[in-house]
Symmetry: C2
Subunit: 471 residues, 2 copies
C-alpha cells in the first residue's frame, strides 16, 4: 500500500515526477557510503525552481523531511535517506542557463554534473578550474553543498572561490538570490558564503553562477619517488619555492599497489615507499625550475627517482596513478578519514598520526594519500573480506576517536573536503566548539525553522527544551 | 553626575580603562560620517580578549548596547554611537601576535591599523595586498567588519580573500575561534565568512590571521585621458585583454579639479572630461602590452592623451590624483553613494545613472570616481556652503531613492564596500529581499540574542511580535 502522503504531494505539485519503485528508493536513498540502508519515502524529481519551492512548501505543511540530492558521490552520508525522508533529486535540473563573456560567468542549474560544467565553460574558451575524480557523476549543487576541493586547490582554491551567485530555496520555501554575481557587495551578511558548505541543511541550491577563467598554460606532470614520510614537506617546499604549482599530491606504496592491481602501469623499476605527483606550467622556465628542484631533492636524498611527462598521454598516465586510487579501493569498502591541519603543522601531525595508526591498525591495510600542499590527508582503511561490516566499522571508529584527539590538539579539521554528513558527525566536536555548534543550530533555525532540510546531518537538532520549531 | 552603570562596569571588569570626558565621547562616538551627534555612555578600551569578553558579559547582565570601534574611518555610520551605547574601542589591541613562514600567515589583534599590518608583513619579506587611502587610520578589525575593498580588488579581491582565521567574541560573550588558518575545512557552516562584512552586529573580531603573499613585481602606472563615459568600458576591455592589471581606477574632471585645488600637480596641458589610472607589471612584456593597448585606444579615439610613470616618484604622483580625491572633498561634507553592478551591466547602468543625476542635481557639484573594473562606482555630491546640512541631506536622499530604484533593476548593490551601517539602511531593500533581511535577523538572534551588538546598524530589529530575546 502506498503512503497517502505521496498522493498528497502529487496533488499539491501538479505534474511532479515521482519515483517509488524499490530499486529507485535504494538507488536514490544512498551516496557512495554504504553504511545505511536506504529507506526514503519517495523520490521527487522537480524540473523547475517553482516545483522545488512547491515541494518544500508541501513538506512544511505535512512535516516531511527532505534530503536534497545531487550526484550522490558524497563520502560522508550527507545525501543518505534512511529515515523515510523525501529525496529531492536535482538531476533533471541539469542545464546551463546563461553565459556572460564580460563577467566571465556561467549560470547553471544545480543538477549539472561537474564534467558538463567543464565542457560548457570550454565551449566559451574558458575554464571552470575546480576538478576531481568524481567529475562525471557529481553535481555542481553537491560541490557547493560541501565546498568541494579536489586536486587543484593548491592553485585555484575550493569551490567557494568560484561562486559568484546562488539561487536558493530555503527551508520555508522562499526563493532567495544571493549576491547576483557582484564582485563587490557589502550589503549585510553574505548568505551565499553561508550556503556554501552547509550540506543541504539550510536551503536547496537550485542555480549557481560560476566564475570562469582563461585556460591555464600547458602543463607538465612529474612523478617523484620518496624514501620516507619525513622528507615530504621538504620536497614540497623545494618545489613550491621554484614553481607555481598546479597540483602537488602524494600517495603511498599501498595506494600504488591497488592502482596497479586495477590496471595502471608501473612507473619505476623499483618499489618505493612514497610518491608525489606534481603539475606545473611547461614553459621553458617551468621545466628548468622543476629540474632544478628535482636535482636539489636528489642531492639531499629526499627523492630517489623521478619521471617527467613528455606528452599529454604520459601526463594522463601519471595522473591515473593518483586519480585511480579511490576507484581501486572501492571494492574493499574502505573506512575513510579526510582530515586537515595547517600546512606548518603537517610534519608533526603526520608523525603522530603515523605512529597512532601503525599501532592501532596492525592487521588492516591502510592506504594514505592526499593534497599535501593544502594540509589535507586522506586515510583509507580497507576492510578484510572476512571481517563483518559492523565489526570493521566499530574497530575503525575507535581509531577515529584517537585521531580526532590528535586533530584537536593541532586545531585541525575532521573533514577537509568531504563534509560532515552522518559519518563525521560524532567527531564534529574535535573541530568545532560547543559554542560554534550552538551558533550553527541557531542559524539552522533561521533558515529552516521546522528542521525539515537534511535533518540529522552535520549536527543533531538541539534538545527538546529548545525545539527546532520554537521561534 | 556620572551614570551609575559606569561604576558598575568598573567593578565588573577590574582595571578596565574607561574614558568619559566629553571630548572623548565626541571623538569616539562618531566615524567619518558627520550626520549624527555622538552620545555614547562611555568609551571602554580593553587590552585583552578576556576584557572584551568581560565587557560583553557585563553588557548582557545590564542590557547595555555596545558599538565595536576600530579606526572609525567608516563612511556609513557603522561605528556611530549616538544613542547612549558603550563604545568598545579595540585601539589598544593593536599588536602583531604571530607570524608563520610556512603557512605565510600573520596573526594580529583587531585594532592594528592597516598600514601597520602592511609594515609587519614587509618585515617578513611578504605582502598583505588589501590597500586603500585610509590605511594609516583604519583598523584591520574594521576592514573585516565591512569586507573592505579598495584600489587593488581587481587583482587581489576584497578583505574576505585574505582572512585565514578569526577570533571573535559573540553577543553572549563566548569566544569562538573560526577556521584556525586551515586551507581546507568542510566541517559545518563557515562562520568566519559570516563574520566578514557583518559590521559588528554578530560579534566583536578580536584577532585575525591574515594570509600574506610574495611581493608583486615592480609596476608601472599609466594615466589616461578619455573623451566620454561611453568609451570607459572599451578602454577597460582593451587593457584587460593585454595586461594583468593591478588596478584600474577612473575619475572625472570634477574630481581632478578638487585634487589639484588641494595641491596635486596638473598631469596634462589640456583639461579632459574623464581619467583612468591603471597599474601593471613593468617587465618588458607589460610595458609593450600597455603601449599596444594605449595605441589601440588612441586610434579608436577612446583615449585622448596618456602618460606612463618613469620612476617610483612619478608613479606616486599619478596615484595621488586618484587617492587624494576623498581627502580633497572632505571639507564639502560630501554625500556619498558607493554602488556596484555586475561588470557587464556597467555601461547601461552608467548611462542611466548619469542621466538621472544630471537631472536630479543640476545645482550641486557631483564628483564621480570608482573601481570600474570591479563594477564599483563612487558618487560624491558636495554640499554648497550656503545650504544647511539637513536640507542638503534631504535633497540627496531623494536622489538616492531614485538611484536605488535603478540599482534594483540592475540587481546591483547599494553598498559595494562601505557597508550599510546607518547611512544606507533605508535603501537595503533595493539590494536584499525581505526574505534575506528576515534570514539576517534570524542569524543575528543566534549570535546576539539580546540584540546588544551595534543595534540599529545594517537592519532594524524585527518587530515586537518576534522580540530579539525570544529564543
Amino acid at each position: 500500500m502506498t503512503d497517502p502522503r505521496i498522493a498528497s504531494l502529487e496533488q499539491s505539485v501538479h505534474g511532479l515526477r515521482l519515483k517509488t519503485d524499490p530499486a529507485d528508493l535504494e538507488h536514490y536513498g544512498r551516496d557512495w557510503t554504504r553504511r545505511w540502508t536506504p529507506a526514503p519515502l519517495a523520490i521527487a524529481l522537480p524540473a523547475s525552481v517553482e516545483e522545488v519551492q512547491a515541494i518544500v512548501r508541501w513538506a512544511n505543511a505535512h512535516d516531511v523531511a527532505i534530503v536534497p540530492s545531487g550526484g550522490r558521490t558524497g563520502l560522508s552520508g550527507g545525501a543518505v535517506a534512511a529515515r523515510g525522508e523525501l529525496v529531492l533529486s536535482l538531476e533533471r535540473m541539469n542545464k546551463a542557463l546563461a553565459f556572460d563573456a564580460v563577467d566571465r560567468t556561467l549560470t547553471v542549474q544545480a543538477g549539472m554534473p561537474l564534467e558538463a560544467v567543464h565542457n560548457a565553460a570550454r565551449e566559451h574558451g574558458l575554464v571552470y578550474p575546480v576538478d576531481f575524480a568524481a567529475r562525471g557523476s557529481c553535481s555542481i549543487g553537491g560541490n557547493i553543498a560541501t565546498n568541494a576541493g579536489g586536486i587543484r586547490v593548491i592553485r585555484y582554491g575550493n569551490t567557494r572561490e568560484w561562486i559568484a551567485g546562488l539561487k536558493v530555496v530555503t527551508g520555508t520555501g522562499e526563493v532567495v538570490e544571493l549576491n547576483n554575481a557582484l564582485v563587490k557587495n557589502s550589503s549585510g551578511y553574505d548568505l551565499r558564503q553561508l550556503m556554501i558548505g552547509s550540506e543541504g541543511t539550510l536551503g536547496i541550491v537550485v542555480e549557481a553562477t560560476l566564475r570562469l577563467i582563461d585556460p591555464p598554460p600547458p602543463t607538465n606532470v612529474m612523478l617523484l619517488a620518496l624514501p620516507s614520510f619525513e622528507v615530504l614537506m621538504q620536497v614540497f617546499a623545494a618545489f613550491r619555492a621554484q614553481l607555481r604549482l598546479e597540483a602537488f599530491e602524494f600517495f603511498t606504496d599501498r595506494a600504488l599497489h591497488h592502482v596497479l592491481a586495477h590496471g595502471a602501469q608501473q612507473p619505476f623499476d623499483e618499489v618505493h615507499p612514497y610518491y608525489v605527483v606534481t603539475e606545473f606550467a611547461n614553459d621553458e622556465a617551468g621545466e628548468a625550475a622543476a629540474l632544478a628542484a628535482f636535482e636539489t631533492c636528489m642531492e639531499q636524498g629526499w627523492v630517489l627517482d623521478g619521471v617527467i611527462s613528455q606528452s599529454e598521454a604520459q601526463a594522463q598516465q601519471l595522473w591515473r596513478l593518483r586519480e585511480g586510487i579511490t576507484e581501486s579501493l572501492a571494492r574493499y569498502k574502505p573506512y575513510k578519514n579526510d582530515v586537515s591541519v595547517r600546512i606548518s603543522a603537517m610534519p608533526a601531525f603526520l608523525a603522530q598520526t603515523q605512529a597512532l595508526l601503525g599501532e592501532a591498525y596492525p592487521h588492516f591495510d591502510v592506504v594514505w594519500f592526499g593534497h599535501i600542499g593544502d594540509g589535507n590527508l586522506h586515510i583509507n582503511v580497507l576492510k578484510p573480506d572476512d571481517t563483518p561490516d559492523a565489526e570493521f566499522i566499530a574497530a575503525c571508529e575507535q581509531v577515529t576517536k584517537l585521531l580526532a584527539e590528535v586533530l584537536q590538539r593541532f586545531q585541525g579539521s575532521i573533514s577537509a573536503e568531504h563534509g560532515i554528513g552522518l559519518v563525521k558527525k560524532p567527531y564534529l566536536g574535535s573541530t568545532r566548539s560547543p559554542a560554534e555548534v550552538a551558533l550553527m543550530q541557531g542559524i539552522k533555525r533561521a533558515f529552516d525553522p521546522k528542521g525539515l532540510l537534511n535533518p540529522g546531518k552535520v549536527f543533531d537538532a538541539p534538545p527538546a527544551s529548545a525545539p527546532m520549531t520554537a521561534q
